[in-house]
């Protein structure tokens, strides 16, 4: 209950500060759309040269991409740990966080919230709708709930991986360049993983399970029955990776000594 009220108070403050810089907000949206456009252009241009990608059609791949954008937007809104090392370890902000009576990770998540990232889900839904209509997909009433569940699962997988990466800062002097590169790798989970060598497929499924954010859950809606097992496993993987991340985080905080700045 206490955590919930802290959450809403942070949210209210957040809205106030954001609305102070409206022009900046607009450009931030635009730059988010731009990032999505880069991938979309890649897909569209590539499918201008080939009708099928390992048996998957353009619209199926577009649908997977659209789906991926939704959990990714949720992740972006709440787990913005991009500059955790610089801001909290190097500049010593972590010391301040640790004096407060809420869990340190929860507080950092609230402080670094970027609710406007949720808007990134809109192009995703539009792309899904477009591809869905062209593929004449049919849906049941309960698919909406499954959709929400899979989206949350996917967002937690992302969160788990990036929180784990952030905890490296507690143990070693890693700078931020791992994170941008991880963003690159995450995008490979959007393609049908059967195109990759089995080593990469294994990595994307079990070590850095980004396939559970894109192709696996989307396969359920594309009615690819051979992938259903993986699709329904998404929430489990999400819970598992998030739990591991929180454990790593707690271990890291115990080791944390501060920079003395």
């Amino acid at each position: 209950m206490f955590y919930l009220s802290v959450f809403f108070q942070y949210m209210a403050q957040y809205m106030k500060t954001k609305l102070q810089y409206r022009a900046d907000l607009l450009i931030e949206w635009l730059s988010d759309f731009m990032a999505q456009a880069v991938n979309l252009v890649f897909l569209l241009v590539v499918f201008g040269h080939t009708p099928l990608l390992h048996g998957w059609s353009r619209d199926e791949i577009l649908f997977i991409y659209g789906f991926f954008l939704v959990p990714y937007a949720v992740f972006g809104a709440f787990f913005n740990l991009w500059d955790f090392n610089e801001r909290y370890i190097v500049q010593g902000e972590m010391d301040r966080v640790l004096t407060r009576p809420v869990h340190s990770l929860f507080q950092i998540i609230l402080e670094r919230m970027e609710l406007e990232s949720l808007l990134g889900a809109i192009p995703g839904l539009i792309i899904m709708a477009y591809a869905g209509v062209r593929l004449s997909l049919t849906f049941h009433w309960y698919d909406l709930f499954i959709f929400v569940l899979l989206v949350i699962g996917g967002a937690f997988i992302y969160a788990g991986i990036f929180i784990s990466l952030a905890t490296i800062s507690f143990f070693a002097d890693a700078r931020t360049s791992i994170m941008p590169m991880m963003y690159n790798i995450s995008s490979y989970g959007r393609y049908p993983v059967d195109i990759y060598h089995r080593v990469i497929r294994y990595i994307l499924t079990w070590l850095l399970p980004f396939a559970f954010v894109g192709v696996y859950p989307a396969s359920y809606f594309l009615r690819k029955e051979e992938w259903y097992g993986y699709a329904f496993f998404t929430p489990v993987v999400g819970a598992l990776f998030f739990a591991i991340a929180v454990m790593l985080w707690n271990a890291g905080v115990r080791r944390y000594r501060g920079t003395g700045s």
């Binding site: 590539v46 791992i178 790798i185």
Partner: protein, 263 residues
């Protein structure tokens, strides 16, 4: 001149200090290229070539594009923006060197580090597994090196330009981010320019972006031959010179209206 070379050395050493970064960097570069290789294999399917490039050439193209990016990429636009916001730029400006020149050599120091310690070892690892095709002619390597250096200059000039714009707008993180995506897309990093539809290719001729990634990668895969190599290099050189102009003008204006917001 000494102080600039010294700054390159210092930046290089600063990068070297972060060891974990370094090992994971090589690994992630390798995974990245491998994933692209499989993606392109699937795209090629049974086709022997697309837009005049074989799968081997395409793999090399991708590997070299990312290698080049490690060299030319830098964050000096963000650094300038941050120094303006923190008010540090005021002390920087009274120091006995050219502020923008110093930023550029800092970028060079980082780029050299990433090239020799990150992406080159990464490329060696990758070439053990994937069919990369490297040219045999010495002149191809020479043209490529020259082309890569010009890429760095153009990219850094664009970054300096974006950084100087911060003097007028104060907050422009969104803009800097958008610039990065535009460069990734239109420079040929993600897709060779020859894959785009004709109208898009025509349009891209008017921008400096393809001089950043497309030209050096086409040179090293020997997709450009003879006159095309020369024209590519000339085009890069022209952009290097041309971009100095807006930077100079904006920088003079910026210094006049510098507002230090506390600090």
């Amino acid at each position: 001149m000494d102080k600039y070379t010294e700054m390159i050395r210092i930046r290089f050493l600063m990068m070297l200090a972060y060891r974990t970064n370094y090992y994971t960097g090589i690994l992630i570069y390798a995974i990245n290229i491998a994933a692209y290789y499989f993606l392109w294999s699937a795209i090629y399917g049974d086709k022997p070539s697309m837009q005049g490039m074989s799968l081997g050439q395409m793999t090399t193209y991708v590997a070299i594009s990312w290698l080049s990016r490690a060299f030319y990429f830098n964050n000096i636009d963000r650094e300038i923006a941050m120094e303006i916001r923190d008010g540090k730029v005021a002390t920087e400006l009274i120091r006995p060197y050219s502020y923008l020149g110093m930023k550029a050599v800092q970028g060079l120091g980082e780029g050299l580090f990433r090239l020799f310690f990150l992406s080159l070892p990464g490329l060696l690892v990758v070439s053990l597994f994937l069919p990369l095709q490297f040219p045999e002619h010495a002149h191809t390597w020479l043209s490529f090196s020259l082309s890569l250096l010009l890429s760095f200059i153009i990219y850094s000039e664009l970054n300096l330009l974006a950084g100087v714009v911060t003097f007028f707008t104060f907050r422009n993180e969104g803009l800097l981010r958008a610039k990065r995506f535009i460069i990734d897309l239109f420079s040929g990093l993600i897709l060779p320019i020859s894959f785009y539809p004709d109208w898009a290719q025509q349009l891209m001729h008017y921008f400096p972006f393809q001089a950043i990634s497309y030209i050096p990668s086409m040179i090293i895969t020997e997709s450009f031959q003879g006159v095309a190599v020369r024209d590519g290099l000339l085009m890069q050189a022209a952009w290097c010179a041309l971009l100095l102009l807006p930077i100079g003008v904006l920088w003079r204006m910026a210094k006049k209206r510098l507002v230090v917001q506390g600090g």
